[in-house]
Amino acid sequence: MIRKPLRIFRSDALYAEPAFVKPMNNKRSLFQTFVTPFGDIPASAAMIAGAILWIAVLGAWAVATYGGYVRDMFLPVPDAVVRRAITLAADGSLFVHMWSSIKVVLLGFLVSAAISVPLGLYMGTYRIVQAALEPMVNFIRYLPVTSLVPLFILWIGIGIEQRITVIFFGTFFSQLVMIADEARAVSRDLVNASYTLGTKRSEAVWHVIFPAALPGIINTLRVTMGWAWTYLVVAELVAANSGLGFISLKAMRGFQVDTIFLAIVLIGLLGLISDLFFRYLRRRLAPWAV
Protein backbone atom coordinates (compact mmCIF):
# COMPACT_ATOMS: atom_id res chain seq x y z
CA MET A 1 0.00 0.00 0.00
CA ILE A 2 2.62 2.55 1.01
CA ARG A 3 5.79 2.20 -0.98
CA LYS A 4 7.62 5.47 -1.07
CA PRO A 5 9.74 6.41 1.91
CA LEU A 6 8.97 9.72 3.53
CA ARG A 7 10.75 12.51 1.71
CA ILE A 8 13.31 14.47 3.64
CA PHE A 9 11.68 17.62 4.84
CA ARG A 10 13.08 20.70 3.14
CA SER A 11 12.56 23.51 5.57
CA ASP A 12 13.76 26.14 3.08
CA ALA A 13 10.57 25.67 1.13
CA LEU A 14 8.68 27.31 3.97
CA TYR A 15 10.74 30.45 4.32
CA ALA A 16 7.91 32.81 3.66
CA GLU A 17 8.48 36.48 3.36
CA PRO A 18 8.02 37.85 6.86
CA ALA A 19 5.23 40.38 7.22
CA PHE A 20 7.52 43.27 8.19
CA VAL A 21 9.35 43.34 4.86
CA LYS A 22 8.23 46.41 2.93
CA PRO A 23 8.26 46.34 -0.84
CA MET A 24 10.34 48.91 -2.66
CA ASN A 25 7.93 51.08 -4.53
CA ASN A 26 9.19 53.67 -6.95
CA LYS A 27 6.14 53.82 -9.11
CA ARG A 28 4.27 56.39 -7.06
CA SER A 29 5.17 60.05 -7.03
CA LEU A 30 6.21 61.65 -3.75
CA PHE A 31 2.91 63.51 -3.58
CA GLN A 32 0.96 60.28 -4.02
CA THR A 33 2.76 58.73 -1.06
CA PHE A 34 1.86 61.81 1.03
CA VAL A 35 -1.85 61.36 0.36
CA THR A 36 -1.82 57.55 0.75
CA PRO A 37 -3.30 56.50 4.10
CA PHE A 38 -0.50 54.96 6.25
CA GLY A 39 1.88 55.49 3.32
CA ASP A 40 5.59 55.58 4.08
CA ILE A 41 7.46 58.78 3.35
CA PRO A 42 11.22 59.34 3.00
CA ALA A 43 13.06 60.41 6.17
CA SER A 44 14.08 63.69 4.53
CA ALA A 45 10.46 64.56 3.77
CA ALA A 46 9.52 63.83 7.38
CA MET A 47 12.27 66.14 8.67
CA ILE A 48 11.37 68.96 6.29
CA ALA A 49 7.67 68.68 7.14
CA GLY A 50 8.49 68.87 10.85
CA ALA A 51 10.89 71.81 10.37
CA ILE A 52 8.38 73.91 8.41
CA LEU A 53 6.08 74.45 11.39
CA TRP A 54 8.99 75.36 13.65
CA ILE A 55 10.33 77.88 11.14
CA ALA A 56 6.84 79.33 10.71
CA VAL A 57 6.27 79.76 14.45
CA LEU A 58 9.76 81.15 15.17
CA GLY A 59 9.53 83.33 12.06
CA ALA A 60 6.16 84.76 13.14
CA TRP A 61 7.67 85.47 16.57
CA ALA A 62 10.66 87.26 15.01
CA VAL A 63 8.46 89.33 12.67
CA ALA A 64 6.06 90.31 15.45
CA THR A 65 8.83 91.43 17.81
CA TYR A 66 11.62 92.77 15.58
CA GLY A 67 8.98 94.37 13.35
CA GLY A 68 7.64 96.22 16.38
CA TYR A 69 4.10 94.91 16.09
CA VAL A 70 3.99 93.71 19.71
CA ARG A 71 5.38 95.54 22.75
CA ASP A 72 8.34 93.71 24.26
CA MET A 73 6.65 93.90 27.64
CA PHE A 74 4.32 91.15 26.44
CA LEU A 75 6.44 89.33 23.91
CA PRO A 76 10.24 89.44 24.17
CA VAL A 77 12.52 89.53 21.15
CA PRO A 78 14.08 86.10 20.63
CA ASP A 79 17.63 87.22 21.40
CA ALA A 80 16.45 88.62 24.76
CA VAL A 81 15.47 85.08 25.76
CA VAL A 82 18.87 83.80 24.71
CA ARG A 83 20.64 86.59 26.57
CA ARG A 84 18.57 85.88 29.67
CA ALA A 85 19.53 82.22 29.43
CA ILE A 86 23.22 83.18 29.27
CA THR A 87 22.96 85.56 32.24
CA LEU A 88 21.15 83.01 34.43
CA ALA A 89 23.49 80.25 33.36
CA ALA A 90 26.53 82.40 34.16
CA ASP A 91 25.55 82.92 37.80
CA GLY A 92 24.48 79.26 38.05
CA SER A 93 20.92 80.05 39.18
CA LEU A 94 19.49 78.56 35.99
CA PHE A 95 20.84 75.14 36.87
CA VAL A 96 19.71 75.41 40.47
CA HIS A 97 16.15 76.02 39.33
CA MET A 98 16.26 73.38 36.62
CA TRP A 99 17.58 70.79 39.03
CA SER A 100 14.97 71.74 41.58
CA SER A 101 12.22 71.10 39.02
CA ILE A 102 13.77 67.91 37.68
CA LYS A 103 14.13 66.54 41.20
CA VAL A 104 10.46 67.16 41.99
CA VAL A 105 9.22 65.64 38.75
CA LEU A 106 11.49 62.60 39.00
CA LEU A 107 10.72 61.86 42.64
CA GLY A 108 6.97 62.31 42.21
CA PHE A 109 6.97 60.26 39.04
CA LEU A 110 9.20 57.46 40.40
CA VAL A 111 7.18 57.06 43.59
CA SER A 112 4.03 56.93 41.48
CA ALA A 113 5.41 54.43 38.97
CA ALA A 114 6.94 52.23 41.67
CA ILE A 115 3.46 51.66 43.07
CA SER A 116 1.33 51.88 39.92
CA VAL A 117 3.26 49.32 37.88
CA PRO A 118 2.94 46.35 40.28
CA LEU A 119 -0.47 47.41 41.58
CA GLY A 120 -1.75 48.03 38.04
CA LEU A 121 -0.55 44.57 37.00
CA TYR A 122 -2.45 42.97 39.88
CA MET A 123 -5.48 45.14 39.18
CA GLY A 124 -5.53 44.05 35.54
CA THR A 125 -4.86 40.40 36.35
CA TYR A 126 -7.08 39.74 39.35
CA ARG A 127 -10.73 40.77 39.19
CA ILE A 128 -10.94 40.98 42.97
CA VAL A 129 -8.19 43.61 43.10
CA GLN A 130 -9.92 45.52 40.33
CA ALA A 131 -13.27 45.33 42.11
CA ALA A 132 -11.71 46.62 45.32
CA LEU A 133 -9.76 49.51 43.81
CA GLU A 134 -11.68 50.72 40.80
CA PRO A 135 -14.59 52.62 42.42
CA MET A 136 -12.27 54.69 44.60
CA VAL A 137 -9.55 55.13 41.97
CA ASN A 138 -11.99 56.37 39.35
CA PHE A 139 -13.43 58.87 41.82
CA ILE A 140 -10.03 60.31 42.70
CA ARG A 141 -8.87 60.18 39.08
CA TYR A 142 -11.38 62.81 38.04
CA LEU A 143 -10.72 65.16 40.95
CA PRO A 144 -8.80 68.18 39.67
CA VAL A 145 -5.43 68.00 41.40
CA THR A 146 -5.44 71.77 41.70
CA SER A 147 -8.43 71.53 44.04
CA LEU A 148 -6.34 69.43 46.42
CA VAL A 149 -3.39 71.83 46.52
CA PRO A 150 -4.75 73.99 49.37
CA LEU A 151 -5.23 70.81 51.38
CA PHE A 152 -1.69 69.63 50.64
CA ILE A 153 -0.27 72.99 51.72
CA LEU A 154 -2.26 72.79 54.94
CA TRP A 155 -1.17 69.23 55.66
CA ILE A 156 2.32 69.07 54.22
CA GLY A 157 3.47 72.69 54.04
CA ILE A 158 5.23 74.31 51.11
CA GLY A 159 8.39 72.19 51.00
CA ILE A 160 9.44 69.79 48.27
CA GLU A 161 7.19 67.08 49.76
CA GLN A 162 4.15 69.17 48.86
CA ARG A 163 5.24 69.50 45.22
CA ILE A 164 6.05 65.80 44.99
CA THR A 165 2.60 65.04 46.37
CA VAL A 166 0.99 67.17 43.67
CA ILE A 167 2.94 65.30 40.94
CA PHE A 168 2.02 61.97 42.53
CA PHE A 169 -1.69 62.78 42.67
CA GLY A 170 -1.58 64.13 39.13
CA THR A 171 -0.14 60.97 37.65
CA PHE A 172 -0.69 57.96 39.90
CA PHE A 173 -4.39 57.23 39.52
CA SER A 174 -4.51 57.48 35.75
CA GLN A 175 -1.25 55.56 35.51
CA LEU A 176 -2.77 52.79 37.61
CA VAL A 177 -5.89 52.49 35.45
CA MET A 178 -3.91 52.59 32.19
CA ILE A 179 -1.44 49.93 33.34
CA ALA A 180 -4.32 47.75 34.54
CA ASP A 181 -5.84 48.07 31.06
CA GLU A 182 -2.55 46.97 29.49
CA ALA A 183 -2.42 43.92 31.76
CA ARG A 184 -6.04 43.05 31.06
CA ALA A 185 -5.44 43.19 27.31
CA VAL A 186 -2.82 40.41 27.41
CA SER A 187 -3.99 37.45 25.31
CA ARG A 188 -5.54 34.63 27.34
CA ASP A 189 -3.97 32.22 24.85
CA LEU A 190 -0.50 33.29 25.97
CA VAL A 191 -1.41 32.64 29.59
CA ASN A 192 -2.99 29.27 28.71
CA ALA A 193 0.09 28.29 26.69
CA SER A 194 2.31 29.15 29.64
CA TYR A 195 0.20 26.91 31.92
CA THR A 196 0.64 23.95 29.59
CA LEU A 197 4.40 24.57 29.79
CA GLY A 198 4.41 24.32 33.58
CA THR A 199 3.80 27.92 34.70
CA LYS A 200 1.84 28.07 37.96
CA ARG A 201 -1.17 30.35 38.31
CA SER A 202 0.69 32.48 40.84
CA GLU A 203 3.64 32.88 38.47
CA ALA A 204 1.67 34.00 35.42
CA VAL A 205 1.40 37.63 36.50
CA TRP A 206 5.19 38.17 36.51
CA HIS A 207 6.31 35.54 34.00
CA VAL A 208 3.72 36.16 31.29
CA ILE A 209 1.44 39.15 31.89
CA PHE A 210 4.23 41.54 32.89
CA PRO A 211 6.53 40.92 29.90
CA ALA A 212 3.58 40.81 27.51
CA ALA A 213 2.29 44.15 28.80
CA LEU A 214 5.74 45.76 29.10
CA PRO A 215 5.69 47.73 25.81
CA GLY A 216 2.30 49.18 26.76
CA ILE A 217 3.49 49.91 30.31
CA ILE A 218 6.50 51.85 29.03
CA ASN A 219 4.19 53.79 26.72
CA THR A 220 1.91 54.60 29.63
CA LEU A 221 4.90 55.87 31.62
CA ARG A 222 5.98 58.00 28.67
CA VAL A 223 2.57 59.63 28.34
CA THR A 224 2.09 60.18 32.08
CA MET A 225 5.59 61.69 32.35
CA GLY A 226 4.23 64.53 30.23
CA TRP A 227 1.46 65.04 32.77
CA ALA A 228 4.03 65.11 35.57
CA TRP A 229 5.69 68.12 33.91
CA THR A 230 2.30 69.80 33.63
CA TYR A 231 1.59 69.39 37.33
CA LEU A 232 5.09 70.57 38.21
CA VAL A 233 4.20 74.09 37.12
CA VAL A 234 0.92 73.93 39.04
CA ALA A 235 2.84 72.91 42.16
CA GLU A 236 5.56 75.52 41.74
CA LEU A 237 3.24 78.39 40.87
CA VAL A 238 1.36 77.95 44.12
CA ALA A 239 4.07 77.27 46.62
CA ALA A 240 7.77 77.02 45.96
CA ASN A 241 10.98 78.93 46.41
CA SER A 242 12.89 77.42 43.52
CA GLY A 243 12.20 75.74 40.19
CA LEU A 244 11.28 76.80 36.67
CA GLY A 245 7.64 77.49 37.55
CA PHE A 246 8.81 79.57 40.51
CA ILE A 247 11.15 81.81 38.46
CA SER A 248 8.41 82.18 35.90
CA LEU A 249 5.97 83.48 38.52
CA LYS A 250 8.63 85.76 40.00
CA ALA A 251 9.41 87.09 36.52
CA MET A 252 5.75 87.92 35.96
CA ARG A 253 5.79 90.18 39.01
CA GLY A 254 8.86 91.96 37.63
CA PHE A 255 7.53 92.09 34.05
CA GLN A 256 10.51 89.99 32.88
CA VAL A 257 8.68 88.31 30.06
CA ASP A 258 11.95 86.94 28.63
CA THR A 259 12.43 84.84 31.77
CA ILE A 260 8.89 83.48 31.47
CA PHE A 261 9.66 82.45 27.92
CA LEU A 262 12.93 80.90 28.98
CA ALA A 263 11.15 78.82 31.64
CA ILE A 264 8.54 77.65 29.15
CA VAL A 265 11.18 76.66 26.60
CA LEU A 266 13.21 74.79 29.22
CA ILE A 267 10.21 72.85 30.52
CA GLY A 268 9.39 71.96 26.91
CA LEU A 269 12.96 70.78 26.31
CA LEU A 270 13.09 68.74 29.51
CA GLY A 271 9.76 67.14 28.58
CA LEU A 272 11.11 66.32 25.14
CA ILE A 273 14.23 64.74 26.64
CA SER A 274 12.15 62.58 28.99
CA ASP A 275 10.00 61.53 26.04
CA LEU A 276 13.08 60.53 24.05
CA PHE A 277 14.38 58.64 27.09
CA PHE A 278 11.21 56.54 27.29
CA ARG A 279 11.37 55.82 23.56
CA TYR A 280 14.94 54.67 24.06
CA LEU A 281 13.88 52.59 27.07
CA ARG A 282 11.21 50.90 25.00
CA ARG A 283 13.69 50.03 22.29
CA ARG A 284 16.10 48.63 24.87
CA LEU A 285 13.68 46.74 27.12
CA ALA A 286 11.17 45.66 24.48
CA PRO A 287 13.08 45.28 21.22
CA TRP A 288 10.59 42.64 20.09
CA ALA A 289 7.76 45.15 20.05
CA VAL A 290 9.48 47.90 18.05
Binding site: R7, S187, A193, G198, W288
Partner: protein, 260 residues
Protein backbone atom coordinates in the same frame (compact mmCIF):
# COMPACT_ATOMS: atom_id res chain seq x y z
CA UNK B 1 -8.56 2.61 33.07
CA UNK B 2 -4.94 2.45 32.08
CA UNK B 3 -2.30 3.70 34.49
CA UNK B 4 0.48 3.55 31.90
CA UNK B 5 2.44 6.73 31.30
CA UNK B 6 1.08 8.52 28.25
CA UNK B 7 -2.36 6.94 28.45
CA UNK B 8 -5.42 9.16 28.30
CA UNK B 9 -8.84 8.12 29.49
CA UNK B 10 -11.93 10.20 29.07
CA UNK B 11 -14.84 9.06 31.26
CA UNK B 12 -18.32 10.47 30.76
CA UNK B 13 -17.17 14.04 30.23
CA UNK B 14 -19.99 16.57 29.86
CA UNK B 15 -19.72 20.30 29.56
CA UNK B 16 -22.48 22.84 30.10
CA UNK B 17 -21.82 26.50 29.63
CA UNK B 18 -24.14 29.41 30.14
CA UNK B 19 -24.90 31.68 27.23
CA UNK B 20 -26.84 34.60 28.65
CA UNK B 21 -30.03 33.31 30.28
CA UNK B 22 -29.94 29.75 29.04
CA UNK B 23 -27.36 27.03 29.42
CA UNK B 24 -25.94 25.11 26.49
CA UNK B 25 -24.91 21.47 26.60
CA UNK B 26 -21.68 21.40 24.63
CA UNK B 27 -20.35 17.92 25.42
CA UNK B 28 -22.59 15.03 26.37
CA UNK B 29 -21.00 12.07 28.11
CA UNK B 30 -17.82 11.61 26.08
CA UNK B 31 -15.82 8.48 26.87
CA UNK B 32 -12.82 6.93 25.15
CA UNK B 33 -9.37 5.57 25.94
CA UNK B 34 -6.12 6.50 24.22
CA UNK B 35 -3.17 4.12 24.48
CA UNK B 36 0.36 5.41 25.09
CA UNK B 37 2.02 6.68 21.89
CA UNK B 38 -1.25 6.49 19.98
CA UNK B 39 -2.05 9.32 17.56
CA UNK B 40 -5.75 10.04 18.00
CA UNK B 41 -7.52 12.56 15.83
CA UNK B 42 -10.87 14.05 16.80
CA UNK B 43 -13.02 15.40 13.98
CA UNK B 44 -16.48 16.90 14.11
CA UNK B 45 -18.63 19.72 12.82
CA UNK B 46 -17.74 23.19 14.07
CA UNK B 47 -19.22 23.92 17.46
CA UNK B 48 -19.31 20.24 18.47
CA UNK B 49 -17.05 20.91 21.45
CA UNK B 50 -13.98 19.08 20.17
CA UNK B 51 -11.71 21.95 21.14
CA UNK B 52 -13.41 22.22 24.52
CA UNK B 53 -12.65 18.55 25.09
CA UNK B 54 -8.97 19.25 24.50
CA UNK B 55 -9.07 22.24 26.85
CA UNK B 56 -10.61 19.99 29.51
CA UNK B 57 -7.83 17.44 29.00
CA UNK B 58 -5.27 20.25 29.28
CA UNK B 59 -6.90 21.36 32.55
CA UNK B 60 -7.66 24.81 31.12
CA UNK B 61 -11.43 24.26 31.28
CA UNK B 62 -13.31 22.35 34.00
CA UNK B 63 -15.74 19.64 32.89
CA UNK B 64 -19.26 19.96 34.29
CA UNK B 65 -19.25 16.24 35.01
CA UNK B 66 -17.04 13.27 34.27
CA UNK B 67 -13.28 12.96 34.54
CA UNK B 68 -10.17 12.76 32.43
CA UNK B 69 -7.19 10.76 33.65
CA UNK B 70 -3.72 10.87 32.17
CA UNK B 71 -1.34 8.12 33.21
CA UNK B 72 -3.86 7.17 35.90
CA UNK B 73 -3.80 10.69 37.40
CA UNK B 74 -7.01 12.69 37.42
CA UNK B 75 -6.76 16.02 35.60
CA UNK B 76 -7.48 18.82 38.07
CA UNK B 77 -5.62 21.67 36.38
CA UNK B 78 -3.03 22.44 33.76
CA UNK B 79 0.39 20.84 33.99
CA UNK B 80 3.61 20.39 32.08
CA UNK B 81 2.81 16.68 31.57
CA UNK B 82 0.22 17.72 28.97
CA UNK B 83 1.77 19.94 26.31
CA UNK B 84 -0.49 21.86 23.98
CA UNK B 85 -0.24 23.47 20.56
CA UNK B 86 -2.98 26.04 19.95
CA UNK B 87 -4.64 27.22 16.76
CA UNK B 88 -3.83 30.83 17.71
CA UNK B 89 -0.20 31.89 17.65
CA UNK B 90 0.89 31.64 21.25
CA UNK B 91 4.65 32.12 21.08
CA UNK B 92 5.82 34.57 23.73
CA UNK B 93 6.61 37.69 21.69
CA UNK B 94 9.22 38.92 24.17
CA UNK B 95 11.33 35.77 23.88
CA UNK B 96 13.51 34.70 20.99
CA UNK B 97 12.71 31.43 19.23
CA UNK B 98 15.40 29.73 21.34
CA UNK B 99 14.01 31.03 24.61
CA UNK B 100 10.45 30.18 23.59
CA UNK B 101 11.46 26.56 23.03
CA UNK B 102 13.45 26.53 26.27
CA UNK B 103 10.71 28.21 28.33
CA UNK B 104 9.22 25.08 29.89
CA UNK B 105 12.64 23.65 30.70
CA UNK B 106 13.64 26.89 32.38
CA UNK B 107 10.47 26.78 34.50
CA UNK B 108 11.44 23.24 35.52
CA UNK B 109 14.86 24.53 36.58
CA UNK B 110 16.90 22.65 33.98
CA UNK B 111 20.48 24.01 33.75
CA UNK B 112 21.30 26.28 30.81
CA UNK B 113 23.75 23.87 29.13
CA UNK B 114 21.26 20.98 29.19
CA UNK B 115 18.49 23.30 28.04
CA UNK B 116 20.60 24.44 25.11
CA UNK B 117 21.08 20.82 23.95
CA UNK B 118 17.37 20.03 24.04
CA UNK B 119 16.43 23.30 22.36
CA UNK B 120 18.97 22.79 19.58
CA UNK B 121 17.70 19.26 18.97
CA UNK B 122 14.06 20.32 18.60
CA UNK B 123 14.86 23.40 16.54
CA UNK B 124 16.73 21.03 14.23
CA UNK B 125 13.72 18.71 14.15
CA UNK B 126 11.44 21.51 12.94
CA UNK B 127 14.10 22.93 10.61
CA UNK B 128 14.47 26.29 12.31
CA UNK B 129 18.00 26.14 13.75
CA UNK B 130 18.92 29.19 11.66
CA UNK B 131 16.13 31.20 13.28
CA UNK B 132 17.04 30.54 16.92
CA UNK B 133 17.73 34.19 17.69
CA UNK B 134 14.77 35.65 15.83
CA UNK B 135 11.74 37.06 17.58
CA UNK B 136 8.33 35.47 16.78
CA UNK B 137 7.10 38.51 14.86
CA UNK B 138 9.92 37.99 12.38
CA UNK B 139 8.52 34.55 11.47
CA UNK B 140 5.74 33.46 9.12
CA UNK B 141 2.65 31.69 10.47
CA UNK B 142 3.96 28.23 9.53
CA UNK B 143 7.30 28.92 11.18
CA UNK B 144 5.57 30.11 14.36
CA UNK B 145 3.56 26.88 14.57
CA UNK B 146 6.74 24.84 14.05
CA UNK B 147 8.31 26.68 16.97
CA UNK B 148 5.14 26.04 18.98
CA UNK B 149 5.46 22.29 18.26
CA UNK B 150 9.15 22.36 19.21
CA UNK B 151 8.30 24.27 22.38
CA UNK B 152 5.67 21.73 23.42
CA UNK B 153 7.92 18.74 22.66
CA UNK B 154 11.06 20.19 24.26
CA UNK B 155 9.17 20.14 27.55
CA UNK B 156 8.87 16.35 27.17
CA UNK B 157 5.15 16.05 27.99
CA UNK B 158 3.51 12.61 28.32
CA UNK B 159 0.71 13.74 26.05
CA UNK B 160 0.65 16.31 23.26
CA UNK B 161 -2.68 18.06 22.74
CA UNK B 162 -3.07 19.81 19.39
CA UNK B 163 -6.04 22.09 18.77
CA UNK B 164 -6.33 22.67 15.00
CA UNK B 165 -2.68 23.74 14.97
CA UNK B 166 -2.61 24.15 11.19
CA UNK B 167 -6.09 25.68 10.90
CA UNK B 168 -4.82 29.20 10.25
CA UNK B 169 -2.24 28.18 7.63
CA UNK B 170 -2.58 28.14 3.86
CA UNK B 171 -2.99 24.69 2.31
CA UNK B 172 0.58 24.45 0.94
CA UNK B 173 2.06 25.25 4.32
CA UNK B 174 -0.41 22.94 6.00
CA UNK B 175 0.75 19.98 3.87
CA UNK B 176 4.36 20.71 4.71
CA UNK B 177 3.45 20.95 8.38
CA UNK B 178 1.61 17.61 8.32
CA UNK B 179 4.68 15.90 6.91
CA UNK B 180 6.86 17.60 9.48
CA UNK B 181 4.56 16.60 12.33
CA UNK B 182 4.51 12.95 11.18
CA UNK B 183 8.29 12.85 11.07
CA UNK B 184 8.74 14.59 14.41
CA UNK B 185 6.10 12.38 16.03
CA UNK B 186 7.74 9.21 14.75
CA UNK B 187 10.97 10.33 16.43
CA UNK B 188 9.41 11.58 19.63
CA UNK B 189 6.96 8.70 20.29
CA UNK B 190 4.30 10.64 22.13
CA UNK B 191 0.60 10.20 22.75
CA UNK B 192 -1.12 12.79 20.60
CA UNK B 193 -4.71 14.02 20.72
CA UNK B 194 -5.24 16.14 17.63
CA UNK B 195 -8.38 18.13 16.82
CA UNK B 196 -9.17 19.12 13.25
CA UNK B 197 -12.08 19.58 10.87
CA UNK B 198 -9.94 18.52 7.89
CA UNK B 199 -10.74 14.86 7.10
CA UNK B 200 -7.66 14.33 4.89
CA UNK B 201 -5.50 15.62 7.69
CA UNK B 202 -7.23 13.32 10.19
CA UNK B 203 -6.66 10.15 8.13
CA UNK B 204 -3.13 11.10 7.08
CA UNK B 205 -1.99 11.69 10.65
CA UNK B 206 -4.06 9.43 12.86
CA UNK B 207 -3.85 5.87 14.12
CA UNK B 208 -7.49 6.40 14.83
CA UNK B 209 -10.15 8.97 14.08
CA UNK B 210 -12.90 9.76 16.57
CA UNK B 211 -15.90 11.34 14.84
CA UNK B 212 -18.07 13.56 17.00
CA UNK B 213 -21.70 14.53 16.54
CA UNK B 214 -22.94 18.08 16.22
CA UNK B 215 -23.72 19.86 19.48
CA UNK B 216 -24.16 18.43 22.01
CA UNK B 217 -20.95 16.56 21.13
CA UNK B 218 -21.01 12.80 21.54
CA UNK B 219 -18.73 10.11 20.13
CA UNK B 220 -20.36 9.04 16.88
CA UNK B 221 -17.72 6.73 15.44
CA UNK B 222 -14.27 5.51 16.36
CA UNK B 223 -12.37 4.47 13.25
CA UNK B 224 -9.00 2.73 13.27
CA UNK B 225 -6.66 3.83 10.45
CA UNK B 226 -4.54 0.83 9.55
CA UNK B 227 -2.52 2.52 6.83
CA UNK B 228 1.10 1.58 7.60
CA UNK B 229 3.70 4.16 8.52
CA UNK B 230 5.72 6.03 7.53
CA UNK B 231 2.94 7.59 5.49
CA UNK B 232 3.50 9.60 2.37
CA UNK B 233 1.09 12.49 1.73
CA UNK B 234 0.27 10.93 -1.64
CA UNK B 235 -1.73 8.20 0.07
CA UNK B 236 -4.67 10.58 -0.14
CA UNK B 237 -5.05 9.24 -3.71
CA UNK B 238 -5.09 5.55 -2.71
CA UNK B 239 -8.38 3.59 -2.72
CA UNK B 240 -7.90 2.51 0.88
CA UNK B 241 -7.59 6.13 1.97
CA UNK B 242 -10.60 7.16 -0.07
CA UNK B 243 -12.68 4.34 1.42
CA UNK B 244 -11.96 5.60 4.94
CA UNK B 245 -12.63 9.15 3.88
CA UNK B 246 -16.00 8.15 2.40
CA UNK B 247 -16.92 6.49 5.66
CA UNK B 248 -16.04 9.56 7.74
CA UNK B 249 -17.86 11.87 5.35
CA UNK B 250 -20.95 9.68 5.66
CA UNK B 251 -20.71 9.80 9.44
CA UNK B 252 -20.38 13.57 9.36
CA UNK B 253 -22.99 14.26 6.69
CA UNK B 254 -26.01 13.80 8.97
CA UNK B 255 -24.36 15.99 11.58
CA UNK B 256 -23.55 18.81 9.23
CA UNK B 257 -27.05 18.69 7.69
CA UNK B 258 -28.51 19.08 11.14
CA UNK B 259 -26.60 22.20 11.94
CA UNK B 260 -27.00 24.00 8.63
Amino acid sequence: MSKAKGSLSVNGVSLVYSAGEKSVLALDGISFEVRPNEFTVIVGPSGCGKSSLLYIAAGLTDATSGHIHTGGQMVTGPGADRGMVFQAYTLFPWLTVRNNVGYGLKRKGIAAAERQKVVDYYLGEVGLAAFADHYPKQLSGGMMQRVAIARALANDPDILLMDEPFGALDSQTRHTMQRLLLRVWEHAQKTVAFVTHDIDEAILLGDRVIVMTARPGKVKADIRIDIPRPRDPEIVLEPEFIAIKRRIINELRDEIDETH
